[in-house]
């Protein structure tokens, strides 16, 4: 375990570098294959619409994986994460075109904890002009060991 960040230099309120994450249908298919989650709502529009969803939606865990990159890129060491949690607050529809959709993910230092641990509040929003204030994750939090 060896993080790039120095505990003493971290302040509550620090913003971690955000990332824009494009998501296309092929990304969902790749994630289905790599994770073993073949629920058809993540690749079959017919099933998704019949189940009352607006379109095929991204796997919640794909959204969380992409969001977690904000902290693992920051510390440099993915093994620095000691806990991770979130609520999936709204679906991420992915249209069947060459653009798909995109997420804006970020993080902010929420708390400095004992034993050189840092709690980071994570955020993930649809990167869409009409719907840009819609959080797709809430109560998303990672604790890292520096």
């Amino acid at each position: 375990m060896s993080a790039l960040v120095d505990f003493a230099e971290v302040a509550v309120g620090d913003e971690l570098p955000g990332i824009r994450i494009p998501l296309r249908r092929v990304d969902l298919v790749m994630y289905a294959g790599a994770s073993g989650d073949f629920n058809p709502i993540h690749w079959n529009e017919r099933t998704a619409v019949a189940a009352g969803l607006p379109n095929v939606i991204a796997h919640g865990m794909l959204t969380l994986a992409e969001t977690t990159r904000v902290v693992t890129d920051w510390t440099g060491d993915p093994g620095s994460v000691v806990s991770l949690s979130c609520r999936f607050s709204r679906p991420v529809p992915v249209p069947d075109d060459d653009i798909g959709t995109a997420l804006r993910v970020g993080g902010r230092v929420a708390e400095k904890l004992p034993a050189e641990q840092i709690a980071v509040e994570l955020s993930a929003f649809l990167d869409d002009a009409e719907d840009s204030e819609s959080a797709v994750l809430t109560q998303a939090r990672a604790v890292v060991q520096l």
Binding site: G33, A34, S35, G36, A48, E66, D73, V82, C86
Partner: protein, 135 residues
């Protein structure tokens, strides 16, 4: 259920699928520089194992879940250490509760991911939601 052997290529394939190019997921030397014996897996990787363990319950006809109505509601991980290539893992899964709120049903599970030598690696809890199926 037999132990799940975590392989390097699986970790690389998973990391590629989540678009994450952290060298600790691809390059053994880079993982060793960070102090690990072998490639480590991304923090969300344990869900691929806990989901397999929960599938037994999710697809149990007696529980009667319609999979296309199921979405992920909540997820928690507590790590003792990252999962690493070469690990032989088993999952101890339990259904903690099933409750209905409005028209939705909430299934809460808790899982312990441990090695075949009984070393605890990750503890998880997850809530899956069956949308619009409560009577």
């Amino acid at each position: 259920m037999p132990a799940y052997h975590v392989g390097r290529e699986q970790i690389r394939e998973f990391a590629t699928a989540i678009g994450d190019n952290n060298p600790a997921y691809y390059n053994v030397d880079a993982a060793r520089v960070l102090g690990y014996q072998d490639l480590i897996a991304p923090p969300t990787y344990p869900f691929t194992l806990t989901m397999r363990a929960m599938a037994t319950a999710i697809f149990d006809p007696d529980l009667g879940l319609d999979y296309s109505r199921v979405v992920h509601g909540e997820q928690h991980f507590e790590y003792e250490r990252p999962i690493s290539a070469g690990d032989e893992l088993v999952v101890r899964a339990q259904i903690a509760s099933i409750e209905a709120r409005d028209r939705n049903e909430f299934l809460t599970t808790r899982c312990r991911v441990q090695t075949v030598q009984d070393e605890l690696v990750v503890t998880t809890s997850e809530i899956i939601v069956s949308r619009g199926t409560a009577v």
